[in-house]
């Protein structure tokens, strides 16, 4: 593992790594932590895909170094939000818990020898919700990828727009869409990997504007949350509903890929769209 990553690994994953064993939330199998990490955080017994931290994810995708952009952009408190806690207090808690400064990490690196812009969302920070900073960092990533003329890959994991920033959060759907339009209309390749879960304002903006949409197997993907739909129709939904496999069957995405095969898949796709290989 490269030094930069070791230094950036979240406190949470450190804490998790310190514990020798992890229990699979799906099958209950007790897994040796090091085996789990070596297996890309996929349960060795039932193939359950654990939700990954952004830096853990980056380390499984990039060849070596990764230079972050927009990491210095941090949120304000435009609404002066207070419920049980203030919004700044909630953010402080998320920073502490996740070791991240916001719900997405963006930057540049190489994947299979191809230079790419890479954005990775992290569900552990405010449920991966998109507020101003997520929108701003993603717009920056797309603008900088366009300037460099490199493909852009974004891993999504999000509960949607962030309530605590109100309409300014919703406006990030417009901001990221505008940045995607400029990027793709210029002839650049935009690839999105949907991971568990991707819903609401992120699904309904840049995620589904990609040229190619890959989803991790079993990921939950949709517009409305499962609870909202069940309340609306007053009946329980089938288990398969809104899974990556379901979306593939309905024609909404290009392919479903298992995490262990993900990097190889990305490299194969990049090869079609990148003329010069280093």
């Amino acid at each position: 593992m490269p030094d930069w990553l070791v230094s950036r690994r979240s406190k949470e994953s450190e804490a998790r790594d310190a514990a020798l064993w992890s229990k699979c939330p799906k099958c209950g199998e007790v897994l040796y932590r090091r085996d789990l990490a070596a297996n890309f955080y996929v349960c060795t017994k039932c193939d359950y895909h654990f939700r990954m931290g952004a830096y853990d994810r980056i380390s499984t995708i990039v060849d070596g170094d990764f230079s972050e952009v927009g990491g210095d952009i941090v949120p304000g408190d435009p609404l002066g939000w207070v419920d049980k806690k203030t919004y700044p207090a909630k953010l402080a808690g998320d920073r502490e818990k996740s070791g991240l400064s916001e719900a997405v990490v963006c930057g540049f690196g190489q994947v299979g020898g191809f230079d790419v812009g890479l954005g990775v969302m992290d569900f552990h920070f405010r449920g991966g919700t998109m507020g101003t900073v997520v929108g701003e960092r993603i717009a920056l990533l797309l603008e900088e990828s366009r300037r460099r003329g490199v493909p852009c890959i974004i891993f999504t994991a999000s509960g949607g727009a962030r309530m605590e920033e109100g309409m300014l959060a919703l406006a990030q759907m417009a901001k990221t869409s505008a940045a995607v339009t400029r990027f793709t209309e210029d002839g650049n390749f935009f690839l999105v990997v949907l991971t568990d879960p991707t819903t609401g304002g992120v699904a309904a903006s840049f995620a589904f504007q990609a040229d190619v949409i890959v989803a991790e197997s079993k990921a939950m993907i949709g517009f409305a949350g499962r609870r909202v739909i069940e309340q609306t129709i007053r009946q329980k939904l089938p288990d398969q509903f809104q899974t990556a496999e379901f979306l593939l069957e309905k024609g909404a995405i290009d392919m479903v890929v298992e995490r262990r095969a993900l990097k190889d898949t990305l490299v194969r796709l990049l090869a079609y769209t990148t003329a010069v290989r280093r």
């Binding site: 490269p2 030094d3 930069w4 990553l5 950036r8 170094d65 990764f66 230079s67 972050e68 990491g71 210095d72 952009i73 941090v74 949120p75 435009p78 609404l79 207070v82 419920d83 930057g107 101003t132 929108g135 701003e136 509960g159 727009a161 962030r162 309530m163 920033e165 109100g166 309409m167 300014l168 406006a171 990030q172 759907m173 417009a174 901001k175 869409s177 505008a178 995607v180 339009t181 400029r182 209309e185 819903t199 609401g200 304002g201 699904a203 309904a204 903006s205 589904f208 504007q209 993907i221 949709g222 517009f223 409305a224 739909i229 609306t232 129709i233 509903f241 809104q242 979306l247 309905k250």
Partner: protein, 328 residues
Amino acid sequence: MSNNPIVEREKGLVELGRRIAELRAVNATQPVDMSAEIAALESKYQEILHEVFGALTPWEKVHMARHPSRPTALDYISQFERFDELHGDRQFRDDPSIVAGFAMLRGRPVMAIGQQRGRDTKENLRRNFGMPAPEGYRKVRRLARVASRLGLPIVTLVDTKGADPGITSEEHAQSEAIAMCLHEFTMARVPIVATVIGEGGSGGALALAIADHVIMLEHSTYSVASPEGCAAILWSDASKAEEAASRLKLTAQDLQRFGIVDEIVPEPLGGAHREPGATVARVLTVVDQAVKRLKALAPEELLEERYRKYRRLGEWQTGRRDRIGEGT
């Protein structure tokens, strides 16, 4: 029985209005002079009107925006000089919660696109309470593209609780339908003027509202989620909707402060439905002025301005530059 507090509070006024009318009739036909009583009741009426509607709370505005008599998209579209409705997404079906087509506004051809809720139960069922399905958003996208090609300004009327959250909508990729609407609106080479006339509910509203000029009626609302939805998401308690309404900053006045909204059109005291004709005319005048002003810009200028406008939105700080992974 209505569960809309605005409707409930109007009942006293309606009753008072009826008594004033009765007294007037008596006054006109009988040899007694009741003008003093009438004047007293009229001043009482005005007093109550001001008291009830003079300073609406965000929660009251939510209900004003949902008022069953509030003018709907078709009430505006019917006041354009001409309108020829166009239908369908060319793939699956026509979604009646979206009304769209060629229209003539003050002598200028435009593409009018509106979200249409029902004005009664029967129409609400047909129009799915104004909650568009993916087919509706695909119709919007198709017609926005036609407008862009033909050089027709796009005029939208936003009024929805949100995009339809049903099973079929998920199967038909609601996220993709909205996402591609947003994409189309960011690249349309014609002026886009959006007006929130009632409820602007979340992404389902934004899909029609990426615009060069965003207008809101004084008592309309525009929000990241409905107050009920927000309360359910954050506190798992939809009954805290009133609290959510005040926290979300969903009023036109708040949103103008954030730069989300460019212009607010005033409503008559008591709400747009008290003087629908005048309200609709006022909105159309403001829309026409915005279109006229934007028409003067070249498409490249328009697109650049639109990009910058959305690029700026939000509140954030930048600290020191991160240097992760650079040569360590």
